[in-house]
């Protein structure tokens, strides 16, 4: 909390130092979502196993929900033409309490187009989705949050606390962009917010890792083609071994420590043209059990999200029908995923495979507001067979 107060004070100072020069932007975004799932579970055995492991019903979207994830407040300040500050806070109302957490915060030194440095907490340069979209809200066309980049599930390290260099080399026909980051990947850097254990690793532990990305951006007439490849390595994760469905106190001296090594890649592809947009991203990772404590020496994970969007207008308002496909496959008894921290206890729930095909549309009522509707059909996993959702999202 003390860190957060200091952070808010620093925001006020930055604001007062730069507001009069009109080089400061305060913005935000949020979303209200209503969803309903119906039908029998696609995979009955998977549903029973999930329930037996103590998994939460919300996780498999059973029944109807009104979901307000809170809102994010973003501050971007141009301290000088070469130095920028970006800070983003997340305000979330959960079980009667308002939680405030630091989403990201960094100083950005821009030497030139080819070399720039960021220091602080930033989104990991792993894939396009993690850096460019948020799990919910106005920056997405579709409604359903993509679990593959949702920090609370921790399928990949969403944030890093450290240093990142980035830049572009521009030719006549393309720009070649790079990002290279070093820092804490799955350590507790949440500044007080109780998030899932899996997303950040054992609290207080140190797990420096490296992540990098190469991207080619090719403008072609009215559109652009983006092709990228990310890779990361997180060699020293301090985790705890917990049997599925069981739990243990976080600081129990009898806990079996589980050293892990994580490596992963994420290629992606994006075609963006005036009439359509295609996007596809793949995440693939491997966790090595360094001391052979579990039954296998390594565990793999693969997930993808593909979306094809048509851009048109209704009554001069932007209208975007889309089809999206999500897929996730995890090796059975993965030692890291599904490990959740709740009130000082570590609980291990079943991590299931899932795939879903989604049809939907988004309508821009006014700039900054987007209404979305979608219907999903699950093809595997414990979820009920069908799902519908509607949301309104805004940004200012």
């Amino acid at each position: 909390m003390r860190v957060l107060i200091l952070y808010v004070v620093s925001l006020v100072l930055v604001y007062s130092a730069t507001a009069q020069e009109k080089k400061l932007t305060l913005s935000g975004y949020s979303e209200l979502r209503i969803s309903s799932a119906f039908g029998e579970p696609v995979d009955e055995a998977s549903a029973e196993r999930f329930e037996a492991s103590g998994g939460e019903e919300e996780r498999i979207e059973k029944g109807s929900h009104i979901y307000f994830p809170g809102f994010n407040l973003n501050l971007l300040s141009e301290i000088s033409p070469k130095i920028y500050f970006q800070g983003e806070l997340n305000f979330e109302y959960f079980e009667g309490e308002l939680n405030v957490s630091l989403f990201r915060s960094y100083i950005d030194y821009r030497a030139n187009d080819m070399f720039n440095v960021q220091v602080g907490k930033f989104l990991s340069p792993i894939g396009y989705l993690n850096r460019n979209q948020r799990i919910y809200g106005y920056l997405n066309y579709s409604v359903k949050p993509r679990e593959m980049v949702w920090e609370e599930f921790g399928y990949m390290p969403s944030f890093m606390l450290g240093l990142q260099t980035y830049g572009s080399f521009v030719t006549n026909s393309a720009s070649f962009n790079y990002r290279l980051a070093y820092g804490q990947m799955r350590e507790s850097v949440s500044f007080g917010r109780e998030i899932s254990f899996a997303s950040m690793g054992k609290e207080g532990s140190h797990s420096p890792g490296i992540a990098g990305e190469l991207e080619v951006n090719m403008p072609t007439g009215d559109g652009e083609i983006l092709i990228g490849m990310s890779a990361y390595s997180n060699p020293n994760i301090a985790s705890v071994f917990v049997v599925e469905g069981e739990e243990t106190e976080e600081d129990n001296p009898l806990n079996i420590m589980l050293p892990l090594r994580e490596t992963g890649i994420s290629p992606y592809l994006r075609f963006d043209f005036p009439k359509f947009q295609f996007f596809g991203e793949l995440h693939s990772s491997k966790f090595d059990d360094k001391n052979n404590i579990t039954s296998r020496s390594s565990y793999s994970y693969i997930a993808t999200s593909i979306e094809l969007l048509y851009k048109t207008e209704i009554l001069k308002k932007g209208f975007y029908p889309y089809v999206r496909y999500d897929f996730r496959k995890v090796d059975d008894n993965h030692p890291y995923y599904g490990l959740l921290m709740k009130e000082g206890f570590l609980h291990k729930e079943y991590v299931f495979n899932s795939s879903e095909i989604i049809l939907g549309s988004a309508l821009d009522i006014v700039p900054g507001n987007r209404i979305k509707f979608e219907a999903g059909r699950f093809l595997m996993g414990p979820n009920p067979g069908y799902r519908i959702a509607v949301s309104t999202s805004f940004a200012f």
Binding site: S27, L76, N112, S168, P274, G318
Partner: protein
């Protein structure tokens, strides 16, 4: 460029033409339509080549015929799409939103006084404004 401007003026077709303008110190003299779009949107570059200054797009806070023509013919994006594009840039790449102005006079003043600025005005207004800014693209 001035010759073509004069010819277009003589035909009386200046009303719908849009001129993309930059600061007079900018070493770039001409852009094609695609380049004008991608510089304005900061799609491939954040700074001007040879100037080492951030690209600073200027926009209008209210709808007007110049903006409508610029969005339709050069950016090929509607109003809401432009808004979400720049919002994305702000969140993902820490690039400030365009400065917004109410009139062409304000846009030309901003571009004339900021090295990295890029804006757009009507050809008619450009012809009447003297040599305070540089024209790098005129829409067909």
């Amino acid at each position: 460029m001035l010759l073509s401007t004069a010819v277009i003026s003589a035909r009386g077709q200046t009303e719908d033409k849009v001129v993309v303008i930059v600061n007079i110190t900018n070493p770039i003299n001409t852009l094609d339509k695609s380049e004008a779009k991608f510089y304005y949107l900061r799609t491939i570059r954040r700074t001007w080549p040879g100037l080492d200054t951030p690209i600073r797009p200027a926009d209008y806070s209210m709808a007007n015929p110049v903006r409508e023509s610029f969005l339709k013919n050069i950016l090929r994006m509607n109003d809401s799409r432009v808004a979400s594009y720049f919002k994305q840039k702000e969140y993902a790449e820490s690039l400030p939103m365009p400065q917004s102005f109410q009139s062409e006079e304000e846009v030309i003043n901003y571009v004339a006084t900021h090295n990295g600025a890029i804006g757009y005005i009507s050809l008619k207004f450009f012809n009447a404004s003297g040599n305070r800014v540089k024209s790098v693209f005129v829409s067909e």
